[in-house]
């Protein structure tokens, strides 16, 4: 990874270093880099040079072989920063131990420091070959733990996202409910006041004070009753969510069997294995929907016979769906095409005969001893 020359080169005022065309003439020009050597060139150069397969970098003196699919846009203006970020990302993906995996805070800090050192070495080109080899060995030795921790990270960020959206949605609903409540209250207050005025107008002056007191009390009671009802619902919902949180929290405490997970590179790891990450929930439970080997299902097939069904609104309104018919007839057109009954049934007969003579169950063994067994003894 000798990209130092690449880093040294600065932008030459929006001119492609390879074909020398400038942004002045082509305002839509995009520059791309390849993390192999970080030499910048314009999109059309990349298309021109690498479309027909891997080729060497066109920058004089650089002999790196580059592939088109590795080219990408630069994120940071400084190519040096760009490169460091790449290296950091790569190293952190491998050295992705988590704090809870270490014996002590100290051991975790040591690990973090070591990781920074490795990154620094790679960035500044010190002991590159040795460091890369170390990293690679660690990666191969710890495939399982790396994958586990990656999965955990993804999961955490996803559930964080989900929580954020959920909270936003709830906040929105709460705001809306509050607004509605306020509106209702205002309306009722208005109605109450009207009522109060009417009664005042109708009644004798002596009652006035009593009527006023009473009206005020009723209004208060109504709104507080509503408020406590809503609190109750809110609490109930919170409780429902609470049970789920508890369940996931207990997950981390279930430690599996111990195993020496110390690697040559990372020290101070806890002697227990991190629990297997929970497999992501698969709604299909291992089955693959809509996968076929003999045909690609289409949404429409020409057939004069089916045209009148396509036009039959009553049938359509009932929900009849020709795509279900297409799906069924194509499935039946090919289901079993590659099944050789002659081979498979012969084999099945042979193995089932074998299965019968196994002493797995005494009664089925008796069954195999065909001929002189008593019928009532048999049960297979």
């Amino acid at each position: 990874m000798s990209a130092t020359s690449g880093v040294a080169r600065r932008d030459e005022d929006e001119v492609c270093p390879v074909c020398k065309s400038s942004r002045y003439l082509n305002p839509n020009m995009r520059f791309l880099i390849n993390p192999e050597c970080y030499h910048k060139m314009c999109e059309s150069c990349v298309d021109r040079i690498f479309s027909s397969g891997p080729s060497s970098c066109p920058v004089a003196g650089c002999r790196k072989t580059l592939r088109k699919n590795k080219f990408r846009q630069q994120t940071f203006e400084d190519i040096g920063v760009e490169r460091e970020v790449d290296i950091r990302r790569r190293v952190m993906q491998v050295l992705n131990r988590r704090e809870e995996e270490f014996d002590s805070k100290r051991a975790y800090d040591d690990f973090l420091e070591q990781r920074e050192e490795i990154i620094a070495n790679l960035v500044s080109g010190i002991d590159v070959v040795k460091t890369e080899a170390k990293l690679k060995r660690y990666a191969t030795d710890n495939v399982q733990s790396i994958r586990t921790n990656q999965a955990l990270e993804v999961e955490e960020s996803q559930s964080f996202q989900a929580r954020m959206t959920l909270e936003q949605e709830e906040a929105r609903l709460r705001r809306q409910a509050a607004r509605e409540e306020y509106e209702n209250e205002r309306r009722e207050m208005q109605a109450g006041r009207n009522d109060f005025l009417l009664r005042l107008a109708a009644g004798s002056p002596a009652d006035a004070a009593a009527i006023a007191r009473e009206g005020h009390k009723v209004l208060l009671k109504k709104s507080s009753a509503r408020r406590s009802e809503e609190d109750r619902i809110r609490q109930k919902q919170a409780a429902l969510r609470g049970t789920d949180v508890k369940r996931t929290a207990s997950l981390l405490n279930t430690a599996d069997t111990a195993g020496t997970t110390d690697t040559g590179l990372v020290k101070g790891l806890r002697k227990i294995k991190a629990p297997e990450p929970e497999k992501p929930y698969d709604p299909f439970d291992g089955m693959v929907p809509e996968k076929h080997d003999y045909y690609t299902l289409q949404d429409y097939y020409p057939s004069a016979y089916l045209d009148k069904i396509r036009k039959d609104t009553r049938m359509q309104a009932g929900g009849y769906d020709l795509r279900e018919y297409y799906s069924r007839s194509l499935m039946e057109a090919f289901a079993g095409l590659g099944v050789s009954i002659a081979e498979e049934v012969a084999q099945r007969d042979a193995t089932s005969m074998l299965g019968r003579s196994k002493p797995a169950s005494t009664e089925s063994a008796a069954m195999a001893a065909v001929g002189n067994t008593v019928a009532s003894e048999n049960a297979t």
Partner: protein, 435 residues
């Protein structure tokens, strides 16, 4: 292939698929067992007759059907029974009759109902012999059960009225339980008809330039497919357009699936997709081969095929499967092609008459009146293993007097019809000549 695994879960594959050898030995076993039982039953009938004749002279029993029992009674040698091949021909005749029977209803019963009934009958006679249960008694029931399982509901009365002659509802229903037992309570039959529709639809889409490549042949564009279809060898019968050609192949195949596929052993030996594609192959070979190539890749080019190049596989990863499938389809096609309707062939009809005559002598007398047996069965435990010791004396002696009389009446009636024509009257007017 996923579609294949889905088929493997069907009861048709799990319970009703056989190799040619296993099918043959199963039929031979059934036949041997039935012969043994027919002979025992006849002997028992003879003994019973002799003992009643000697102990109770003057009872109505003496007026037993004359010619039949005497013929048997005097026979010292064992009776001549049907061979498995003869049984097969005999059952097949009733399968053809079933097709006709379905036609007599107004409106005619759907193809699917008739085909299911035929397959029920064929499955039933894998473990039962016509010598024990005459297919004439079973066939109406098979058709009735098929109307129920294929969701073509009609009442029993309505159904029985549709049968020419004076078949009663009891006659239809009597063997129902027996039939279902023989079917091992699997009612689902996987037919090739719907698959044919699917294939024809897809080919038409290809002809219109709207075909999608198969999952393993992703490099093909709809236009490639259309071009390929346009450049196949001409059809056996010239057609005006490719759509016309597909339509013609579809029609020919459908007829074959309604007849040859029902009357031969293809349902036991092949899968529904193989059956329709074999028939399609017979209808239009270049078209079928093109269609298979779009699924499983084309044949190897002559240059690479001749050299022993291990890279052959690279050219078409499905090459082995394609070879295997083509061989299976050719075998299946040959079996379909061998079929000739009995009634359109005088030689076969003559043979059939001979078998019917032979069966007349070796029909198991204890199973003739199914309605009575059924009635008895629902009242008393049948001769299961638990009661097999008690049943040693034989069902004839354990029968109640009324049942015995009913059976005798039935026997007499059968006797009369048999004497008129050893084969019995035609159930339906003969229409098979159109085939």
């Amino acid at each position: 292939m996923i579609e294949d695994d889905i088929y493997r879960t069907s009861s048709q594959f799990r319970l009703w698929s056989y190799t040619e050898t296993s099918l043959q030995s199963l039929r031979a076993n059934t036949n041997a067992a039935a012969i043994e039982r027919v002979r025992t039953a006849l002997r028992r009938a003879r003994e019973a007759q002799q003992s009643t004749a000697s102990s109770a002279v003057g009872t109505p029993i003496t007026s037993q059907p004359g010619s039949e029992s005497e013929g048997r009674g005097n026979e010292e040698k064992e009776i001549d029974c049907l061979t498995p091949e003869e049984e097969l021909v005999f059952v097949r005749y009733y399968c053809e009759q079933l097709l006709e029977l379905g036609e007599t209803y107004k409106p005619p019963l759907p193809t699917l109902v008739r085909a299911t009934a035929i397959q029920y009958l064929r499955r039933f006679y894998l473990s039962n012999s016509p010598m024990t249960y005459n297919p004439k008694q079973i066939m109406a029931c098979a058709l009735f059960v098929a109307t129920k399982t294929e969701n073509y509901y009609m009442s029993l009365r309505q159904f029985a009225d549709g049968i020419p002659g004076n078949t009663t509802t009891e006659d239809v229903l009597a063997p129902e339980f027996l039939l279902m037992q023989g079917l091992r309570f699997t009612f689902d039959i996987r037919h090739p008809f719907r698959g044919l529709e699917g294939g024809a639809m897809e080919l038409t889409a290809i002809a219109q330039g709207n075909g999608q490549p198969a999952p393993h042949m992703v490099h093909q564009t709809p236009e490639d497919l259309r071009q390929g279809l346009m450049s196949i060898a001409p059809p056996p019968v010239p057609s005006s357009s490719i759509t016309d050609r597909i339509g013609r192949a579809h029609g020919t195949t459908r007829e074959m699936l309604k007849s040859a596929a029902q009357m031969t052993d293809v349902y036991f030996l092949y899968t529904p997709s193989q059956i329709w594609l074999s028939a399609f192959l017979l209808a239009d070979r270049p078209l079928t081969e093109f269609y298979l190539d779009t699924k499983l890749g084309g044949p190897l080019t002559s240059t690479t095929a001749s050299t022993e190049d291990p890279n052959n596989n690279l050219q078409n990863p499905l090459y082995d499967l394609r070879t295997k499938v083509l061989a299976i389809l050719n075998d299946c096609a040959a079996l379909l092609q061998s079929y000739m309707p009995l009634s359109s062939d005088p030689a076969q009809m003559k043979n059939l008459k001979r078998i019917a005559k032979k069966l007349y002598h070796c029909q198991n007398p204890e199973k003739v009146n199914l309605a009575a047996i059924q009635k008895r069965g629902s009242q008393l435990p049948p001769s299961g293993a638990a009661s097999s010791a008690a049943a040693d004396s034989g069902p004839v002696t354990s029968e109640s007097e009324s049942d015995r009389l009913a059976k005798k009446r039935k026997l007499d009636r059968e006797q009369k019809t048999r004497n008129a024509d050893p084969f019995g009257p035609e159930l339906v007017p003969d229409r098979t000549k159109g085939h």
